[in-house]
């Protein structure tokens, strides 16, 4: 019993002594490190439920509603999109661009089950994603979006600090990715995303996302709040997606016989 009490005391002291949020030389919260997105559920999926509990015993209660199982609001799609959403469902998402290893766009990249390395400098925040080796170099020196942006999978990102929050404005998307959050998939090249990253404690960055796309949504909306978990001791690994990908070949075979996978008409 004494040993149990000693262990409990040690645990409570260890939790209480969590290091403070690191700061950069210019006083900004330092987001640098390796992180796993997707909230508590994302962490559990990525590293296993037992490992997640060991790594973040505080995740569920402390971050309730932030990716801990909160049911997202349905994306406010315009009526003309509904038949396309039905088609996606009936085809059991076989057309998901990520299944072909295409870059998954923002914000979906943040919640993929592979880690993210953030490198923060005075004038830039650099995101390196293990997923499909994506990267984002986000200037924070006050510049705006370039005037020659070509539509792209990951869009063009510029950031600025609002107090302790890194606010990233993302435009310049193509329409070839699926949103992948809040039940959303289809978007247009008018997609505009605003991400807010705030390191609220040593091992947590809260992640809030505002989305608007006047071509497909009836109004702007927000993803369910989520968070990224610090992954001390982790490293990025190669994640080559095409060379040994057997799913792509199986998709092609299935597409020759849609009756094998398409939902029967209702």
């Amino acid at each position: 019993m004494k040993q149990l009490i000693a262990v409990l005391l040690w645990v409570s002291v260890a939790v209480a002594q969590k290091p403070p949020v690191p700061k950069t030389a210019d006083g900004k919260p330092d987001l640098s490190g390796i992180w796993q997105g997707g909230g508590a559920a994302g962490l559990s999926f990525a590293i296993g439920a037992d490992n997640a509990k060991a790594a973040r015993p505080d995740a569920a209660p402390a971050q309730a509603g932030r990716g801990g199982g909160a049911r997202p609001e349905p994306a406010p799609y315009q009526d003309w999109v509904q038949p396309k959403l039905k088609e996606i469902r009936d085809r059991r998402s076989i057309d998901d661009p990520s299944g072909r290893c295409l870059l998954v766009g923002v914000p979906r990249i943040t919640s993929m089950p592979l880690p993210i390395k953030i490198v923060q400098t005075k004038d830039e925040v650099i995101f390196l994603y293990e997923t499909f080796h994506a990267f984002r170099v986000i200037p924070t020196d006050g510049r705006g979006h370039p005037d020659d942006v070509d539509p792209s999978f990951m869009g063009d990102s510029v950031g600025h600090w609002e107090g302790d929050t890194l606010v990233v404005d993302v435009t310049g998307f193509n329409d070839k990715t699926w949103l992948g959050g809040g039940g959303a998939s289809i978007h247009s090249d008018a997609l505009h995303v605003v991400e807010r990253y705030r390191r609220v404690d040593y091992d947590t960055i809260t992640y809030d996302v505002f989305i608007e796309d006047p071509k497909v949504f009836t109004k702007s909306w927000n993803l369910a709040p989520s968070f990224l978990s610090l992954r001390p001791g982790e490293r990025l690994r190669e994640y080559e997606c095409i060379a040994d990908n057997q799913d792509i070949q199986r998709f092609e075979e299935l597409l020759k016989t849609p009756s094998l996978f398409v939902r029967p008409s209702q």
Partner: protein, 130 residues
């Protein structure tokens, strides 16, 4: 209008964690549990595969193939390449069968020879429902 709303909810087709559609390839309503001997392991991203020789009560041997998590995820869940699973190991696999009717399935849980259970893949239906 109500129908459209219901449709919008049902159309939650792109779960945040999925890499690709599980449901297009595998049938979440066709679970299968097989015991056999590992003959080959393809420890490759973006998804590992392993092969099992399954012997029925008549002595007939069927070769089965299973998909699993990416190695990058497996190592973070405690797997070690060439240690956790080895050719020659006898294991029991819980999986969901492929829609193409082949001896192919997506593994979820493996029971090792010593009885230890380890996760090897996602729950059924991720990415597109069942």
């Amino acid at each position: 209008m109500r129908a459209l709303f219901v449709l919008a909810v049902l159309a939650i087709t792109a779960p945040a964690f999925a890499h690709h559609s599980f449901a297009a390839e595998y049938d979440g309503e066709k679970p299968i549990t097989l015991k056999g001997v590992i003959t080959k392991i393809e420890w490759e991203n973006p998804h590992m595969h392993f092969y099992l020789d399954v012997t029925d009560e008549k002595g007939q041997v069927d070769a089965w193939k299973f998909e699993g998590f990416p190695p990058n995820m497996l190592v973070r869940q405690g797997w070690k390449r060439d240690v956790t699973l080895k050719v020659g190991d006898t294991i029991t696999v819980f999986a969901w069968r492929a829609r193409n009717g082949m001896n192919l399935a997506h593994s979820r849980e493996i029971t090792l020879a010593d009885g230890k259970k380890i996760l090897s893949g996602p729950p059924a239906g991720i990415g597109g429902g069942n």
